[in-house]
Structures are given as structure tokens and as C-alpha cells.
């Protein structure tokens, strides 16, 4: 038995030769760090000490108000941004569907454009747009007769402002994704429904959404993973403030590790993050997971 496996491996050795060069990098700079991260999360690891402490990091985390605050903020941010993105993307995709290809491509490119601009640049722009004294947004507020608002300087407005910014700039890749999925649905599904007198809303809820379900699921999981790790906008725009109202786990991991040099605790945080994302992925899969055939 064992011999035949070795024989097969030897016979198919070209397969290993081709995969090995990338795998070597992947092992060294990805898999080992993941395993090491798990290991580190059970250690007190800072400049002075490197000592095994079991589950203490995790126990400390869940009694630490700042971590819980960051966790809450990250949930708020993710569950603010992802549904807004999906709603926007679905609306845009459905509205765009009947137009001819040149118009479709134009709008898809327009919506995708912010995705090739780095998050650092987008954050710098919005820091300027949100500027309380000279910013563009307060100019609009004044033009419609409202008061200026300290968008990022007020603990009640800061997080909604960040969500708003992400809503405005994001969703482009989901639009491209959903458009491609919708183009692959046979057209006679829509025609048949229309002939039988279904309203647009009925067509949308009974045909479009169910058939797009696998793609919506994919976009939802990817959007959740991406937004749950949000870092650059916090780093550039608010540094977690004011009064920790915008501190997220992605940012707290960074400050814990690279400002406080508390590497074990930061690893434990990242593990909690990973665990939560795994649970999300599982729930979303269960909830929307039934496959659709057409």
C-alpha cells in the first residue's frame, strides 16, 4: 500500500516540481506565520518577556473594555457597510441590466474606479472632504441651509461618517460581479414573467434575487471579510478617536503589536478576529447556501 503511494508520487513528480516553488514561499511566509500566530496567542510576548500563559490573553481580552469597544465598533462598521454595499450594488445592477453594452461598460468602469485608488488616498481625500471648516461636505450642508458638522470630530458622527464614505466609494466590484452573474441568467426567464403580467418588483424578488443568490452570498462573505479588517481609513482619518468611537479590531491589533509591542496579546486579538469571521462565513453559508440551478 505505502509502496504504491510512493510509486505514484515518484511517477507524478512533475506535479510536485511545478507546485513546489510557490509552495515554498507560501509555507514560509504564510502557513508558518498562521501557525506561529496561534502559538504566540498563548504567550506573553513583549520586549522583556516571552512566557507561556495559556488562555490568559483571551481571558484578558474579553474583560478589556477597549477590546470589547473595538469589537462592537467593528461589528457596527461591517454590518453598516456590507448591507448598504449590497443594496447599492443590486439596485445599480438591476437598473443597468436593460442598457446596451457600451453604457453598461461606462457605468461599470465609473463604479470600479475608486477600487484602483488606494485606501490611503481615498482616506486622505475624505479627510479633506470631511474637514469641518473648509470641507466640501460642509459646503453642501451650508448650501442646503444646514449647519456645519464636525463629521469626524464628534463621537456620534465619526463612525456613521466612515460608513457613509465606504458606502459612497465602495461596491464597485460587487456591481461588476452581479452584472456578470445577471448576464448569465437566460433572458426568457424575465420575458416569461413579464408576459404573465408580473410587476417589476415581483420579477426582482421572485426571479432576480433568487437566481443571483450564490453571487450575493459570495459578495457578502468577501465584503464581510474585507470590512472586518478595516485599517487604513482608521489609521489615516481618526486613529480610533474621538473617545475611541472609531477604534476597530484591525487598528487595535496594529497599535497593540507595533506601538505597545504586546505581540502575544495582538496575536490573540487576531485569532478572535479570525474565529468570528469563520463563524460569519459559516452562518452566511448556511443561511444563503442552498445552490440554485438554472
Amino acid at each position: 500500500m505505502a509502496v504504491t503511494v510512493w510509486k505514484r508520487m515518484w511517477k507524478q513528480r512533475a506535479g510536485y516540481y511545478f507546485v513546489l516553488p510557490h509552495f515554498a514561499f507560501y509555507l514560509m511566509f504564510f502557513l508558518i506565520p498562521v501557525g506561529w500566530g496561534v502559538y504566540l496567542s498563548f504567550f506573553k510576548y513583549d520586549v522583556f518577556t516571552q512566557r507561556f500563559i495559556g488562555f490568559d490573553n483571551f481571558v484578558n481580552l474579553f474583560t478589556d473594555w477597549l477590546f470589547l469597544k473595538a469589537l462592537g465598533n467593528t461589528f457596527l462598521y461591517t454590518f453598516g457597510v456590507v448591507p448598504l454595499w449590497l443594496g447599492k450594488a443590486l439596485l445599480v445592477t438591476v437598473l443597468l441590466y436593460p442598457f446596451r453594452n457600451s453604457i453598461k461598460t461606462f457605468y461599470k468602469a465609473l463604479f470600479y474606479l475608486p477600487h484602483v485608488t488606494s485606501s490611503v488616498i481615498i482616506s486622505m481625500i475624505w479627510l479633506w472632504v470631511f474637514n469641518p471648516t473648509y470641507g466640501l461636505l460642509n459646503y453642501f450642508m451650508r448650501s442646503v441651509g444646514l449647519e456645519k458638522i464636525a463629521w469626524l470630530g464628534n463621537k456620534f458622527f465619526a463612525m456613521p461618517s466612515l460608513i457613509f464614505m465606504q458606502f459612497i466609494m465602495g461596491g464597485g466590484s460587487t456591481i461588476v460581479l452581479l452584472s456578470a452573474a445577471m448576464a448569465s441568467i437566460p433572458e426568457y426567464y424575465f420575458e416569461a414573467a413579464k408576459l404573465e403580467g408580473a410587476s417589476s418588483w415581483k420579477v426582482f424578488t421572485r426571479i432576480t434575487v433568487p437566481l443571483l443568490k450564490p453571487t450575493i452570498l459570495y459578495a457578502m462573505i468577501m465584503g464581510t471579510i474585507a470590512n472586518f479588517q478595516t485599517f487604513s481609513n482608521i489609521y489615516i482619518m481618526t486613529q480610533g478617536g474621538p473617545e475611541f468611537s472609531t477604534i476597530t479590531i484591525g487598528y487595535l491589533v496594529y497599535t497593540t503589536a507595533f506601538r505597545d509591542y504586546n505581540l502575544g496579546l495582538a496575536s490573540a486579538m487576531s485569532m478572535v478576529m479570525f474565529g468570528i469571521l469563520a463563524v460569519f462565513g459559516f452562518i452566511q453559508f448556511k443561511w444563503l447556501g442552498s445552490n440554485v440551478e438554472y
Binding site: 511566509f29 459646503y139 451650508r142 453571487t215 496594529y254 503589536a257 485569532m271
Partner: protein, 276 residues
Amino acid sequence: MDWKTKLLIRRIISLVILSIFGLLAFIPLYWMVITAIKPATLTLQFPPELFPRNPTLQNFKDVFQRPMLFRWTFNSLFVAGAVTTLQLLLCSMAGYSLAKKKFPLGKLLFSIYIASMMIPRQVTLVPLYILVSKFSMIDTYWGLILPGVAAPFGVFLMRQFMVSIPSEIIEASRIDGASEWGTYFRIILPISKPALAVLGIFTFVGEWNNFLWPLIVTNTSKMKTLQAGLALLQEEVPMQHAFLMAGATYAAIPMIIIFFAFSRYFLKGVTVGAIK
């Protein structure tokens, strides 16, 4: 109203809604460029000028005077170029193996690659930092480049594309006496050009825009990439809006050009893995 008029009205309403959403995403980018070409003093004026009356290139001159700016640009180009080149070569090889070679553990390996794409970056951040410092690669090009080469997405993308290459072509080439390497080089790579283009563009743009890792792995100003450099400028002179927007415009323009030159690859690349 006949149905044609109704349809026309519907179309117009659709276009208006689409344009509102599109403009909202576009206005901030417009605002970046407009601020960058305004005289610096005019940014501290309320209400702001929406269309600059006296455009100037002075802010760009100021940015270019910044000692390290071209060094940062070079670093970004070099790191993104190196990661992209290595990824194209290694991921296409690995993708070919996982798509077309049947060997023990191959399926398991592919599952590991897929599963690992779900892992948030923060998980590897700390261990990678310790690892890279043990190798004395902090603040070096090695430290900037090697972790980027290890990313699993490219292998997944290449494998998904190569699965659809008919195996008969590969067998025919082998029967004609081509070596394994020759088959990969002369048959597989040319067929895979569209996938290579998608991977190359996504990797290059992704690395150019990458911020978190360069922020952590570089200490000195001369090793920073453009993104980390911009963040530094933002911290140093937060009130010089025109100057900052000129820097941002300078760093954004190469990617916007790449996007318009290769937009069909971008729009195609997004769907890899999501739609059969």
C-alpha cells in the same frame, strides 16, 4: 401613454439614479485633482471654489521638492514589479500543477490554498514581522517583497483558468516529445495569457496600493513605499491640503491610467472564482 413612452421614461429614471450614484463616487476623486491644482491659500477659503479659476502646478512642484518622493516612487515600482513578476511565474506553475497534474496530496493542497484566502491579514502580521526580523529583513526590499510573493490568490486564479484547458493538448505535446517544462512554457503559458494578464494587473495594483505591510516592515524614510510615504506626509503637514492632494493625485494617476488601459481585464478579473 403608449408603452414606448413608458419604457423611455423608465430608462431615463434609471440613468438618473445610476448617474447620481456614479457621480457621488466620482466627486471625491474630482475634488482631489481640483484641490491639487488650486493655489494653496485658496484651500483655506469658505465657500470653496468648485471650478478653479487660477489653476497652478505649484503644489506638484512642492511635492516633487520633497526629498524622498522619487525614492518612494521607485520603491513602489520596484516592489510591485518584483512581486508581480515572481507571482506570474510561480503561480502559473503551481496553478498548472494543481489543475492538470494528478498526484497524491494535490487536492488537499488546493483546499489549503482556497481556505487560506479567508484568513484576515492581521493573523499573519505579527508572526510575519517576527519572522522577517529574525531573517534581518526589516527595512529591506526582501522584507517588502517576499511576503507578497507568498499570497495564495494567484495560484487559485491560475488553477481556475487552467482547469478549462483541454488535457488533449497537453498529451499531444508530450507525445510529440516535448518535455514537462517545454509543455508548460510553449503550450500552457501562451494559452493562459488572459489569466496572466488579469493576475499581473491585479497583483501590480494591489501591491502598489498596499499600505499595512510596508508601514510595518519599513523604519527609515528611504525604504518607504509611496503609500507609506503619503501617510507620513499626512501626519507631518495635515493642514497643507493642496500639497497633500497633489501628492495623492501623483500616486493615484499611474493606477488610473493602468485601469483605463486594461479595464476589460479588471472587469473580467473580478468575477474569477465567483461565477462559473
